[in-house]
């Protein structure tokens, strides 16, 4: 590989970085070759390593710059390590205390193995091929404005719907209470009536056994109906009302969630 091939390959590998950065880097390395002179061309090529390694170093530098800009003012840790294989290995590494960590590492093996790694904030691992573009999260501003306008225009409908829903909930509750009270009162009345009629019947048996027995039977049936009403009342209080409350709570929760989304 000669200088031209090296620069061409480097230009190709730098296609995914901004134009200005690519021109700057290419100018630098072209200058570098020119200043080293043709007699040193091979030596420089050897020392630089593969175009890929040089491209990676450039991209790592770009990434590190971005990271620095993102964590300006905050504490950041910059660990910098580079190992050049071969005969003697040189490693330099530095840590500037703090929290957000930026580590960039390049290792050049004897045969041109290149490893690079970049970690921002300890969480996301970014490689140069996907520079960390800050994406706006959530709904864009114009959508929020549209939704708000929509809500204003729909407000009569929304209010009417809310009123209907509220009315329904109140109605269901009222019906439930009416049922409970109704069954409760009927239960008490029938139990009382049954008791009275049974006692009357029993007393009547002495005077006229047949009609007395009929009255006693009627009283007992009445008592049984009272017990039935009592069971219904207990069921309403124990199961139906809690279930209804849960249902209302669920509906309210749904509405609340939807409002939160908006």
């Amino acid at each position: 590989m000669n200088k031209e091939e090296f620069l061409r390959e480097l230009a190709r590998l730098l296609q995914n970085i901004p134009d200005s950065e690519r021109r700057e880097a290419l100018q630098y390395y072209e200058d570098y070759f020119n200043d080293a002179g043709p007699e040193n061309e091979q030596k420089v090529l050897e020392e630089l390593g593969t175009p890929r390694k040089v491209a990676d170093t450039i991209k790592d530098g770009l990434l590190a710059n971005m990271d620095c800009r993102e964590t300006i003012g905050g504490q950041n840790t910059t660990a910098y390590q580079s190992t050049v294989g071969g005969q003697g290995a040189t490693a330099y590494q530095s840590t500037v205390g703090g929290q957000g960590a930026t580590a960039y590492q390049s290792t050049v093996g004897g045969q041109g193995a290149t490893a690079y790694q970049s970690t921002v904030g300890g969480q996301n691992t970014a490689t140069y091929q996907t520079p960390p573009v800050q994406k706006e999260e959530g709904i864009p501003a114009w959508a929020i404005v549209l939704i708000v306008i929509g809500c204003i225009f729909c407000s009569p409908v929304i209010i009417a719907l809310a009123a209907v829903l509220f009315g329904l909930i109140v109605a269901v509750m009222a019906v439930m209470f009416a049922l409970v009270i109704g069954f409760g009162v009927s239960c008490a009345a029938t139990l009382f009536a049954g008791l009275v009629v049974t006692i009357m019947g029993l007393v009547h048996i002495i005077v006229s056994p047949f009609s007395g027995m009929i009255v006693t039977g009627a009283g007992l049936i009445c008592f049984a109906v009272g017990i039935l009403f009592m069971m219904i009342t207990v069921f309403l209080c124990g199961c139906a009302i809690p279930a209804m409350c849960r249902g209302i709570a669920w509906i309210c929760g749904k509405i609340f969630k939807r409002k939160q989304k908006i």
Binding site: D31, T57, S82, V96
Partner: protein, 107 residues
């Protein structure tokens, strides 16, 4: 060399090298100068220069040399301030290290 050269120290060295040339100096020469004191891969310097340039510690300009444009790096006021800070920090740091390692105090 068993000691690591951190990013900050590398910045300081590069700024010091560039500040030695009031007219500015160029990439190849900076690399050679830095390599006189620390072992450095040739490709390591470009990102450092680029960062210092973005941080406005250095400015670049092209000057004609041997029939082509050569890119020169020159230190700025901000770069000088940064270098002064590094020099002070280094004096303290190296003083402390020397004191603990060799048992002598340095002013």
């Amino acid at each position: 060399m068993v000691f690591n050269t951190g990013a900050a120290l590398l910045d300081a060295i590069v700024l010091a090298v560039v500040s030695k040339e009031p007219e500015g100096t160029y990439g190849y020469k900076i690399t050679q100068d830095v390599r006189q004191v620390i072992d450095l891969s040739e490709s390591t310097l470009y990102p450092v220069l680029r960062r210092l340039q973005k941080d406005e510690c250095m400015v670049v300009y092209d000057r004609e040399y041997a029939g082509r444009n050569r890119r020169y790096y020159r230190i700025t006021e901000k770069g000088m301030a940064q270098l002064t800070m590094y020099i002070n920090e280094w004096r303290q740091y190296s003083g402390k290290i020397s004191w603990i390692l060799e048992g002598r105090s340095q002013g």
